[in-house]
């Protein structure tokens, strides 16, 4: 299976390149124009000039090639430079200087990074700037969701059709079928407007450095986390329940009981492990979602994380940004799926890869 993993990893390179190409073509094909947000008062000739300045005139394969070079050659150089110069992890290494930034004071050849069309700044910088809030909010939401959903799923399967199960079904279904663009404002109206407990606007500049500021951070995170967690909990707990139900009726459960194992062990060890095989997929598919952020929730609470960056870039037809974000997303998906597949093999010895 190591060979399998290695093969998958190696294979993922052409796959990712192919995905990048498809995404690129898709974006090319999609209507939309980076000039859409420029007011109509700006005359078309000027807009045409601006487009050309963005490099839109070049044929698509040249644009694609440029992006590939920027993404896989120049950005890594920037990253290595950063690692050796500034990071605490590898700062001890001799400082490298692979990347020659363009800009004032440099003439001669220089390296152009992936530049967003909206902000004219390196896309990677924006992504790094936005990662923390997305990880905080969305990540926490997933963590909360896992911790709620797994027990709910297990217990409702164990007590199928009990009051607990029915209530759980009811709540999760409502929770899932009511969209966040409704639950979000609803929470805001209740908790920000009427009760005044939590802010309705997330402060991305807030720095946590003591207990008080941590409380502030918690307060501003609670609502978006709740909204997101509701959706994720609904999904995971349902899949968990279904999977548990499937496994509970297997014969090995009887054997486990015959050993006199307490129900807790029977459920949490024997059945759970078998059920996890199906749930691993759901969880693995959710991981890229953590980094991808959540478009609607981020918008509603003005968290301005990655999801917001993506949707903003999409509406602004900011090709480099969209391309880079979706590619990173694709990369995470491919990796998460490799991990999931390897985990299948680990969780279920019957599955053979070779």
């Amino acid at each position: 299976m190591l060979t399998y993993t290695i093969r998958r990893l190696i294979l993922s390179v052409p796959v990712l390149l192919f995905i990048a190409l498809i995404i690129f073509l898709l974006l090319q094909l999609a209507p939309g124009d980076p000039m859409a947000q420029v007011p109509l008062t700006v005359p078309p000739e000027v807009k045409q000039k601006m487009r050309e300045a963005l490099g839109l005139g070049a044929p698509w394969y040249i644009q694609f090639w440029k992006w590939l070079v920027q993404m896989f050659w120049i950005e890594p150089m920037v990253f290595i430079d950063w690692l050796t110069n500034h990071s605490s992890l590898l700062g001890w290494l001799p400082n490298t200087d692979f990347y020659t930034p363009c800009g004032p004071a440099v003439d001669g050849p220089c390296d152009l990074r992936v530049i967003s069309w909206q902000t004219r700044s390196p896309v990677m910088d924006i992504i790094i700037q936005r990662m923390p809030q997305t990880l905080w909010v969305v990540g926490l939401a997933y963590v909360v969701a896992f911790f709620i959903a797994i027990p709910i799923g297990i217990y409702s399967a164990y007590k199928q059709y009990s009051a607990f199960d029915q209530a759980g079904t009811f709540i999760t279904m409502i929770g899932f079928s009511v969209p966040p663009f409704f639950t979000g404002p609803l929470l805001i109206v209740i908790f920000s407007v009427y009760l005044g407990w939590f802010p309705s606007i997330y402060d991305t500049t807030h720095v946590v450095n003591d207990w008080e500021s941590f409380v502030v951070q918690l307060k501003q995170m609670i609502m978006p986390v709740m909204v997101l967690a509701l959706q994720v909990t609904a999904q995971i707990s349902r899949f968990m329940r279904a999977s548990m139900l499937d496994n509970l009726k297997q014969d090995y459960v009887r054997t486990a009981r015959a050993k006199g194992l307490p129900e807790r062990v029977v459920l949490l060890v024997h059945v759970l492990r078998n059920s996890m095989i199906a749930v691993v997929t759901v969880v693995a598919l959710a991981i890229p979602g953590i980094f991808g952020g959540s478009i609607i929730t981020e918008r509603v609470f003005k968290v301005n994380g990655i999801g917001d960056a993506l949707i903003g870039a999409l509406f602004a037809s900011d090709m480099p940004m969209v391309m880079t974000l979706t590619f990173i997303f694709a990369f995470l998906i491919v990796m998460a799926n490799i991990i999931a597949d390897v985990l299948y093999g680990v969780l279920d010895p019957r599955i053979r890869y070779d």
Partner: protein, 606 residues
């Protein structure tokens, strides 16, 4: 004191809810088990043996059953007597596994597929005995050695699907014995085991009983085992106890008609001495039987040459291949039309794998298989499917091989529909006829696998294999789970079909008496190789290979007064069939010692 029973079953009645209304699993059963006693429960397949024992464990609830009446008194270690039928499940938990251990009938599904054997074995120990991990593992190893699993250390880290049927069964036995329970319920514990290991296990149980005073409730269909083990015998028939008594009484003075029939149907080793061809069994009470010997033809149907099948052994987190299990190593044989070749041998020696390799259900490494002149190994997937019309397989573990979500009608109909053999009413009639032939009531057509007893499931599996009238049937322990009366009927059926249709069988079994009765030729397997191959008479009457000789000696005899002594048994530990990647196995070479009678000259490890 001795008269104080450990467990008393009084008027037990168990019902199941099915969609066709309630079904009675056990109607009325009462008996008692005293400390240090072995009580054997024999009876017709489907008579409620497993259900009674599951009720005693209070596991029947989880399977959809319901104790509708009766009491199940049990005396706990501290002297209290409780009614298990009314105990709540949390108290039951401290009794199960600890004071009452149980061995289940179907070993494949009884083990959790995703945990290693070691894990599943140590669990109960750590739970009830409070051992730490290392201690528990040491004890587990010990247990595996006691049940004579080869290479016990490695087995601990293996997963159930990597073990042969017999090994799994032994793991389940070890699990039940782990905590040295005061009452051991053994539901067909040796069904999947070859005689040598069966003997060992029986000896082990016997020792346990003597040393710790464990009472054993032993469910079996094998009268020879009963004769060897039992102190008392309970005979069950159609949900009722029909007879109970000391083992000698039952064997010598059976009272009930069913008991008599049962005893009469027991095949005895040596019965066929001097007869060249197998012949059907004489069934009591039937007069119009055709008992002609089945000669078969001289035309070759199946020819197997140098068949080799290996399984990779995986290790580490990434589960890389670290070695290979040489499950089948260079075996060659032929089967003529209308004849039966039996494969016997120790559990784990590769019999099932050999059978599966013929049908390419596992892909062999190398070798040739010709069926009726067709090169099976060269077939594409479509042709292979077509070829399987002529060869069918009965799987060792009938429960695992039945789809839990399909009713039996559909499952038996499946092969017929697959090949478009029959449709509509004709299809239904054929299936009903098949059910009649394997002695299952037609109403069972509508049931699901889990609603059947072990033996009933096995009969469904047989019916399915017979449905297509194939030329070759690979019968992997096909009759091992059947009680002798049904077994006799089924064997007769198989032979009848053989005589009529020139069917050939590859008969895999551990029951030497059965093998003696049905086979034309016998192959003895050891560690993946056939060590002795020849006509049945030659091999049985004149075994030449030392392994064959040991095997013959271990066959139990259905006579309570003629019990085998544990000391008589002495087997070498089985060497490992596992070799590192790149290991070259020597080819099998044979010496002919009589007409068609070969023994292996290559070192087989025995």
């Amino acid at each position: 004191m001795l008269d104080h029973p450990l467990a008393t079953i009084e008027n037990l009645r168990v019902e199941f809810q099915t969609k066709d209304g309630p079904v009675v699993g056990v109607e009325d059963v009462s008996f008692e088990i005293r400390p240090g006693e072995t009580i054997c429960i024999v009876g017709e397949s489907g008579s409620g043996k497993s259900v009674s024992s599951l009720s005693l464990m209070r596991l029947i609830e989880y399977g959809g059953g319901d104790i509708a009446g009766g009491r199940l008194l049990f005396k706990r270690g501290n002297g209290d007597e409780i009614d298990l039928a009314k105990t709540d499940q949390s108290l039951m938990r401290t009794i199960r596994g600890n004071e009452i251990g149980m061995i289940f009938q179907e070993p494949m599904t009884a083990l959790n597929p995703v945990f290693t054997v070691g894990r599943q074995l140590t669990e109960g120990l750590r739970m009830h005995k409070g051992l730490n991990k290392a201690e528990a593992e040491a004890r587990a190893l010990d247990l595996l050695k006691q049940v004579r699993i080869p290479e016990p250390e490695r087995r601990l880290t293996q997963y159930p699907h990597e073990l042969s049927g017999g090994m799994r069964q032994r793991v389940v036995i070890a699990m039940a014995l782990a905590c040295e329970p005061r009452l051991l319920i053994a539901d067909e514990p040796t069904t999947a085991l070859d005689v040598t290991i069966q003997a060992e296990i029986l000896a082990l149980m016997d020792r346990l009983k003597r040393e710790t005073g464990t009472a054993v409730m032993f469910i079996t269909h094998d009268m020879a085992v009963v004769a060897q083990m039992a102190d008392r015998v309970v005979v069950m028939f159609r949900g009722k106890k029909v007879e109970e008594g000391a083992v000698e009484d039952i064997f010598e003075r059976p009272q009930h008609n069913y008991t008599k029939a049962l005893l009469a149907a027991v095949p005895k080793l040596g019965e066929m001495r001097g007869k060249a061809y197998p012949e059907p069994m004489k069934l009591l009470g039937k007069s119009d039987q055709n008992l002609d010997p089945i000669k078969g033809s001289d035309e070759v149907l199946l020819e197997v040459k140098h068949l080799t099948t290996r399984f990779p052994v995986k290790g580490g987190f990434f589960r890389r291949t670290v070695a290979n299990v040489h499950a089948v190593e260079d075996i060659s044989f032929t089967i003529n039309k209308g004849r039966t070749l039996s494969l016997v041998g120790e559990s784990g020696c590769g019999k099932s794998t050999a059978g599966r390799s013929l049908l390419r259900l596992v892909e062999p490494q190398s070798g040739e298989v010709h069926l009726d002149g067709k090169d099976i190994m060269a077939l594409g997937s479509n042709d292979l499917r077509a070829a399987r019309l002529d060869m069918q397989m009965i799987f060792q573990d009938p429960f695992a091989s039945l789809n839990p979500q399909m009713n039996l009608m559909s499952q038996v109909a499946e092969p017929l529909q697959n090949y478009g053999v029959a449709k509509g009413q004709e299809l239904q009639d054929r299936i009903a006829a098949l059910f009649d032939r394997v002695e299952l009531p037609r109403s069972f057509l509508r049931r699901f696998p889990h609603e059947l007893s072990g033996g009933q499931r096995q009969r469904v599996a047989i019916a399915r294999a017979l449905a297509l009238n194939p030329k070759l049937i690979v019968a992997d322990e096909a009759v091992s789970a059947l009680d002798v009366s049904v077994q006799a009927q089924v064997l007769n059926l198989m032979m009848e079909l053989q005589a009529e249709l020139e069917l050939s069988y590859l008969f895999i079994s551990h029951d030497m008496a059965v093998v003696e009765r049905v086979s034309h030729d016998v192959g003895v397997m050891y560690l993946g190789r056939i060590v002795e191959l020849g006509p049945r008479a030659a091999v049985f009457e004149n075994p030449q290979h030392p392994y064959t000789q040991a095997l013959m000696k271990a066959v139990p005899i259905a006579d309570p007064r003629n019990r085998k002594d544990e000391r008589e048994l002495n087997f070498k530990p089985i060497p490992s069939p596992i070799h590192p990647v790149g290991y070259e196995a020597a080819p099998s070479e044979y010496r002919e010692i009589g007409a068609g009678h070969y023994i292996l000259t290559t070192d087989s490890g025995y």
